[in-house]
């Protein structure tokens, strides 16, 4: 019983991170039919900058805020200079390779600046573990899935009630029609990439106290976030959040009962199997082919 609860709670924590990353992919894909392949590195950037901010004596909240904002700026720049120049090309080779290239560069830079080792971010959220049915978890871990769900609800509310949110939906539905209605499509796409990057960097800051921060932490988290987006359906925000939380819990059980290597094997195999059985993901909708 205790172990089960432990796995579920820790799984929800890491799953919340996957969900936040996947939400970022969802937002970018909806707006641009393109994503930032360095999205995992956005997360790393947020976490690493927060740790470095604390190092130079900034108060924790300020360091975290700076990390998140820097992540957002990174997303904006990447959209403008790496994605947009290739937006009109028929294949996706262009923006994929440029964003991957930037990811490789950022990771290399971070390794040089931060060192090749891992460090945790000190946070009041991990000072004392709380006990739930005998399972020990940090408050920080309990917050993460809640944040993921709140962000998803916030996104839905924004899309329903604000002008920019409705513009995002319009652009996702039909770029040309949206442009004809006077929507500045480029600005909406830039906003979407910025927003996604903010969420990614925030996920990095949130997870930093729980797992170790390192220059290479982004790659695997980003990849799993995308896997979750594929499983949940990249077109569905609630879908990717549900899939993210479930994926995290599943990972903890496999890790606990078998091994960490098995965790990766099972996790990614599940992604491929879901893709075989549900091409649009579990909750995704088929994008209408406009002829």
């Amino acid at each position: 019983m205790t172990t089960t609860v432990q796995y579920i709670l820790s799984g929800l924590a890491i799953g919340g991170i996957y969900a936040l990353i996947a939400l970022g992919f969802h937002i970018m894909w909806s707006a641009a039919k393109a994503v930032n392949f360095a999205h995992g590195d956005t997360l790393m950037l947020g976490a690493v900058l927060a740790v470095m901010g604390v190092d130079v004596g900034l108060p924790l909240p300020l360091a975290c805020l700076l990390g998140v904002l820097a992540g957002g700026v990174f997303g904006l720049l990447l959209e403008r200079f790496a994605v947009r120049p290739f937006a009109g090309t028929p294949t996706s080779v262009g923006w994929m390779l440029t964003t991957i290239a930037v990811g490789v560069m950022i990771e290399a830079l971070a390794t040089i600046q931060f060192g090749g080792f891992s460090r945790p971010l000190a946070s009041p959220g991990v000072n004392n573990a709380v006990r739930i049915f005998g399972a020990g978890v940090y408050p920080q871990e309990l917050i993460i899935p809640v944040v993921a769900i709140l962000v998803m609800i916030g996104l839905k509310l924004m899309q329903r009630h604000t002008l920019i949110g409705r513009a995002m939906k319009a652009v996702a539905h039909d770029k040309r029609a949206a442009a004809l209605m006077g929507i500045n499509v480029n600005r909406i796409v830039a906003f979407s990439f910025g927003l996604a990057a903010l969420l990614g960097a925030a996920a990095g800051v949130l997870v930093a106290p729980v797992i170790q921060v390192s220059a290479s932490m982004g790659a695997i988290l980003g990849l799993k976030g995308f896997a979750v987006a594929i499983i949940g359906g990249i077109t569905s925000a609630p879908g990717v959040v549900i899939a993210g939380l479930a994926f995290g819990v599943m990972e903890k059980f496999v890790e606990g009962y078998i091994s960490t290597a098995a965790r990766e094997i099972v996790g990614f195999s599940v992604m491929i199997l879901v893709l075989l059985a549900f091409p649009q993901g579990l909750f995704g909708k088929r994008e209408v082919l406009k002829v």
């Binding site: 120049p85 028929p90 440029t98 893709l275």
Partner: protein
């Protein structure tokens, strides 16, 4: 260009023979052999990246899979290098198909993610399955390579590697020049148009990835023999990026680009070592630089410069082709080309775009489908051509049920179409566009393409001649070698018609062919459609130009709010009060003929 390739292969062969003689020591030769192995991966990956425009970030995983397969067979079962590489090719090819099929049918981007994930799966299986793979310590003491028990000494092993790379480069060059290469390029440019021409985009993309997987697997086996030691941590994500960079840097889609890229990136690390920690940064920066400054890669850019200095290749002459009248001629006893649609209903959510629409195109007639904007005309032909599934109703061509079939199958049954917003393969030449349209009439298979068998050559000649004749038919022969995207709009429309005709359809759907054309161009179009109909091809025409319809159509069907409100000869339809009401909102019996304007 053809001579240039022959020259290229000659130079390549000379280099491959000369290098081992020049090699000063064991290390130099070994490094060159490593280049050959990378070259094998890169030429295969070039098919995926250069032709289908897809990206794999997991070639290192397939490379590892091939390495482990070869190493296990060699150490446990004493297989020779030939058997090892064949099994490795089969194993990686199968995994390639398994990975590609689910990913590329949804979104091409997924392939990149699925392949990285596969790399991680392979790594972890290698760690976990200790009894087979030796776990984290890996497999040591892989025996020296042998063929049928004869040990391969230094140069002999070199010969195997060089020979394999050379043969793979030729085979892939052949693949690129065949229907498969054309189809891959076409799919990368427009999936919609490919489907409408009877090409299977998922199949074509999967094939490209399987080719890339097989070469990676074979290269992996060779690597295991060269290194005589492998472990899970030597196959990393950075390697996958490096393999990609080889293709892009050398020139994606060119014959030798991948080899050149592999050469540079095998020797570059030797120089980059002095930068120590900046090495990985340098890879990223190099990739970024290439994408912005040299997007066509080294050989792609050189080729472009070369073609600029030389006079443009002469457009083919009409006498080289088979006239459209001959190539499109249907035997009298063939089927009449009759399309019958019964009560088609299509709903999008709450909106009923088509409501029990029925239509009958008689064999050989020109049938016009008209109606105000939003009447459901486009929905109708998108349904007939298999892009939308009807909620109810059925349709058939010459008694062959088409309901529920995919656009690809419908195209192969004899229905061809053009698009309202032209869907050309922009980067392909005008001639190649038409040759893609001919694809479903070709019968040679993959082995024919790879070996350029006489049958393949004969069919390709036939395809080219037909395409030339069709270009002459639509008056585009002078532009035959231009990229389709540079054609002015009016000519693009004509190219779409030629491309659709290349499939030798029984029924041709034209979706607003006159939209955006000048009066002169519309007159030409009228003559062209008449000639097509005279060849026995039924034409279903969606149009707004009333004059064109009145001049051409044998029958006019009018749609309004998704329902057929009239279907008769032009003269009758023109005076039908319901038609007049649909266009003007009120019904007055005194509205004259000429006022029915769409």
């Amino acid at each position: 260009m053809k001579h240039l390739n022959t020259l290229g292969f000659l130079i390549f062969a000379v280099i491959l023979v000369a290098v081992p003689m020049q090699a000063g020591n064991e290390y130099e030769l070994r490094l060159f052999m490593l280049f050959l192995i990378y070259g094998i991966i890169a030429v295969g990956l070039n098919v995926l990246v250069g032709l289908t425009g897809l990206v794999s970030l997991g070639q290192a995983g397939l490379f590892a899979l091939g390495s482990y397969t070869g190493a296990i067979l060699a150490t446990r079962l004493n297989f020779d290098i030939v058997a090892c590489s064949i099994v490795a090719a089969v194993v990686s090819g199968m995994f390639g198909a398994l990975l590609a099929y689910p990913s590329v049918r949804v979104r091409g981007v997924y392939l990149a993610v699925v392949t990285i994930a596969f790399g991680i799966i392979v790594e972890n299986v290698a760690i976990e399955w200790q009894s087979l793979t030796g776990g984290t310590t890996g497999l040591t003491s892989i025996p020296r390579p042998n063929i049928f028990g004869f040990k391969l000494a230094g140069f002999a092993f070199y010969g195997v590697l060089a020979g394999t790379l050379f043969v793979f480069t030729i085979l892939i060059h052949h693949l690129r020049l065949s229907r498969y290469g054309r189809a891959m390029l076409a799919v990368s440019q427009s999936e919609t148009a490919s489907r409408a021409l009877g090409i299977n985009p998922t199949g074509v993309r999967t094939l490209a990835f399987v080719v890339a997987s097989i070469t990676a697997g074979v290269a992996g086996t060779f690597y295991a023999f060269l290194n005589s030691y492998i472990s899970p941590d030597i196959f990393t994500f950075s390697d996958s990026v490096r393999f990609l960079l080889m293709v892009i840097l050398g020139g994606a889609g060119t014959t030798f680009g991948a080899v050149v890229g592999a050469y540079i990136l095998t020797y570059l690390p030797e120089y980059l070592q002095q930068f120590a920690i900046w090495q990985r940064f340098a890879y990223g920066a190099l990739l970024l630089l290439v994408m912005f400054i040299l997007p066509r890669g080294i050989l792609g850019t050189l080729g472009e410069l070369l073609s600029r200095t030389r006079p443009a290749p002469k457009a083919p002459d009409a006498s080289e082709g088979i006239s459209a009248e001959t190539s499109l001629h249907h035997e009298a006893r063939e089927l009449p080309a009759e399309l019958v649609a019964h009560d088609l209903t299509v709903r999008f959510g709450g909106l009923t775009a088509l409501s029990q629409a029925s239509l009958h195109v008689r064999g050989g007639e020109v049938h016009a489908l008209i109606g105000p904007n939003g009447a459901g005309k486009s929905t109708f032909i998108n349904t007939i051509s298999g892009f939308y599934r009807p909620n109810a109703g059925r349709f058939e061509l010459d008694g062959i049920e088409l309901t529920g079939r995919s656009s690809r199958q419908i195209a192969r049954i004899g229905l061809a179409r053009t698009f309202q917003n032209t869907e050309l393969f922009g980067d392909l030449s005008v001639l190649d566009n038409v040759m893609v349209g001919y694809d479903q009439r070709l019968s040679y298979g993959l082995s024919g393409a790879l070996l350029q068998t006489p049958r393949m050559r004969r069919e390709e000649r036939e395809c080219r001649k037909t395409a030339i004749g069709l270009l002459d038919f639509v008056g585009l022969l002078p532009q035959a070698n231009d990229p389709a995207k540079f054609l002015p709009f009016g000519l693009q429309r004509r190219l779409e018609i030629a491309r659709a005709l290349a499939a030798k359809p029984r029924l041709l759907l034209l979706d607003e062919p006159a939209a955006g054309l000048t009066t002169q161009e519309i007159d030409d179009l009228e003559i062209m459609i008449r000639r097509i109909a005279n060849l026995g091809i039924s034409v279903l025409l969606i149009e707004h130009h009333v004059e064109l319809i009145m001049a051409l159509a044998d029958t006019v069907t009018v749609l309004d709010y998704g329902q057929v409100i009239a279907s008769d000869t032009p003269a009758v339809v023109q005076n039908d009060p319901r038609v007049i009401e649909a266009y003007f909102g009120t019904s007055h019996s005194n509205v004259g003929d000429n006022e029915v304007v769409a």
